[in-house]
């Protein structure tokens, strides 16, 4: 095997690894979410739901590591830097890979912060599922773009073309759209932080007032994520 073909194989291996692991993570996520409502059923189903959560986490961590490895091998071993920086298809692939990595990284971080009990809290449950779904969909687009680069066709082509997406054109936002999006997100995050601070202070006041009115009564619940 020529040396160059051997090096490309590292990217192929890591790409297959992260695709498999992250697909398993998303499938486990779906099973766990369905298991929130479908509590009755066969012992097999209950066992599946019980195992789905740790499977999703472990597969997501493994898949994320493989995804990072495939980014490194993709940048180093597949195409010359000049091609990487001039091909619209490759740049689109890098962009979607960045989004997929962000989704899965946040998925893992949220799970590590809140633990397995996040499934008892609907808001966190839906957030976790949304992050996993975002990561899975963007990963599908990455795979489709990779198929184009390998000279093959993608099953998503029909859908994307129906939606008017030309996968060979570089996808960029205008500068004003970028600034608008960044401002909106910053405003939203700051607004949420301020609202949370105000909420906490009000609750503190309420708690103090409640303590003065009825010593020994239970304080109101503090705001939570």
């Amino acid at each position: 095997m020529p040396a160059e073909t051997g090096r490309i194989a590292w990217h192929v291996i890591t790409a297959e690894l992260h695709t498999g692991m992250l697909t398993l993570a998303f499938a486990s996520l779906v099973i766990r979410l369905v298991g929130v409502w479908a509590t009755s059923g066969t012992p097999v189903w209950r066992g599946l739901v019980r195992l789905a959560e740790p499977t999703a986490v472990l597969a997501a961590i493994g898949g994320l590591l493989a995804l990072i490895a495939s980014i490194v091998t993709g940048l180093l071993y597949t195409w010359p830097v000049e091609v990487l920086l001039t091909s619209s298809v490759v740049l689109n692939k890098i962009a979607i890979t960045a989004f997929a990595t962000t989704f899965w990284m946040l998925f893992v971080v949220v799970r590590l912060i809140y633990g397995g009990r996040l499934w008892d809290r609907p808001r966190l449950r839906w957030l976790s599922f949304a992050l996993g779904a975002g990561g899975f969909v963007s990963l599908m687009l990455v795979g489709s773009t990779g198929g184009h680069l390998a000279g093959k066709r993608s099953m998503l082509d029909g859908v994307l073309h129906y939606l008017g997406v030309n996968t060979h054109l570089l996808f960029t936002l205008s500068r004003s759209a970028v600034y608008l999006a960044l401002s909106a997100v910053a405003l939203l995050a700051v607004g949420a932080a301020v609202r949370r601070a105000v909420w906490s202070r009000n609750l503190e006041h309420s708690r103090e007032a409640a303590a003065q009115v009825a010593p020994g009564s239970s304080p109101p619940q503090t705001p939570s994520g």
């Binding site: 000049e82 091909s87 060979h168 997100v185």
Partner: protein, 252 residues
């Protein structure tokens, strides 16, 4: 008695000789101008012009005959080889490509079009035609030779006409018998005037896209990626920070 010199027979002989020389010369001339034989072998003097890319060891031979061009390509490898010309850029985008390989005794040669800077597709799959009129090839343990003929101007929208003047020509090959394996370092770009026969190395890529000063697509692309990542992280943070409607517990 003087011996008369008979001029007339001498003139006849000379005329006859001249005719013979002209006929023979014409036959030889016709042989020299005969189109190359598409037989998978490139012989000395078979083609009118040739160019050897020394860095990658690839040979390109060509002859223009009537409305056709004959190509003979030879590489020191046993996988695919390709010639392409006139990319609009960047890199090979918009290029007319002929790519082929030999598996066993069978030649696989197809007419391709570079539909992006780093990918290419069969003309037929894009709605065009395969415009190779005749082709032949051979392979031994060290090398591959492919000969083919096509029209100078095929009229296909996925082909580029060969006209007088310099053309940007890209040459490449790889060790695998397929149409997709990356060529790696085995590629070069050369300026060739197919009619005049001149050739000049032009570097690795035809038209590198400028990355400077935000005029290229890189800066808007980077901003788009950053905006996407920040939006995902920001929305997640805002969602987590947004206070939940508190439920006051009743009872003691």
């Amino acid at each position: 008695m003087t011996r008369t010199f008979r001029l007339v027979p001498h003139v006849s002989v000379w005329v006859l000789l001249a005719v013979l020389v002209l006929v023979a010369g014409g036959w030889v001339g016709a042989a020299a101008a005969a189109p190359p034989a598409i037989d998978g072998r490139i012989t000395e003097g078979e083609y009118a012009s040739h160019y050897q890319a020394r860095r990658i060891g690839m040979e390109v031979h060509w002859t223009i005959e009537g409305d056709s061009i004959y190509f003979g390509l030879k590489v020191p490898a046993t996988g695919w080889l390709a010639i392409g010309w006139d990319p609009s850029g960047p890199i090979m985008e918009g290029e007319d490509i002929l790519i082929g390989y030999i598996r066993g005794k069978e030649l696989f040669l197809q007419d391709y079009f570079a539909n992006s800077s780093v990918t290419h597709a069969n003309d037929v799959s894009l709605g065009g035609r395969d415009d190779v009129l005749e082709a032949s090839g051979s392979e031994d343990r060290q090398s591959t030779t492919i000969e083919f003929r096509r029209r100078l101007d095929t009229g296909d929208r996925f082909d580029r006409p060969i006209t007088p003047g310099p053309h940007t020509v890209q040459l490449a090959y790889a060790p695998s018998d397929d149409f997709v394996t990356y060529h790696g370092e085995k590629r070069t770009v050369v300026k060739i005037d197919f009619f005049a026969g001149g050739a000049q190395e032009a570097g690795l890529f035809a038209r590198p896209r400028s990355l400077d000063g935000g005029r290229g697509p890189l800066v808007p692309w980077l901003l788009t990626v950053a905006a996407g990542v920040v939006t995902i992280v920001g929305l997640t943070a805002a969602y987590l920070l947004w206070p939940r409607r508190a439920r006051v517990r009743h009872g003691g």
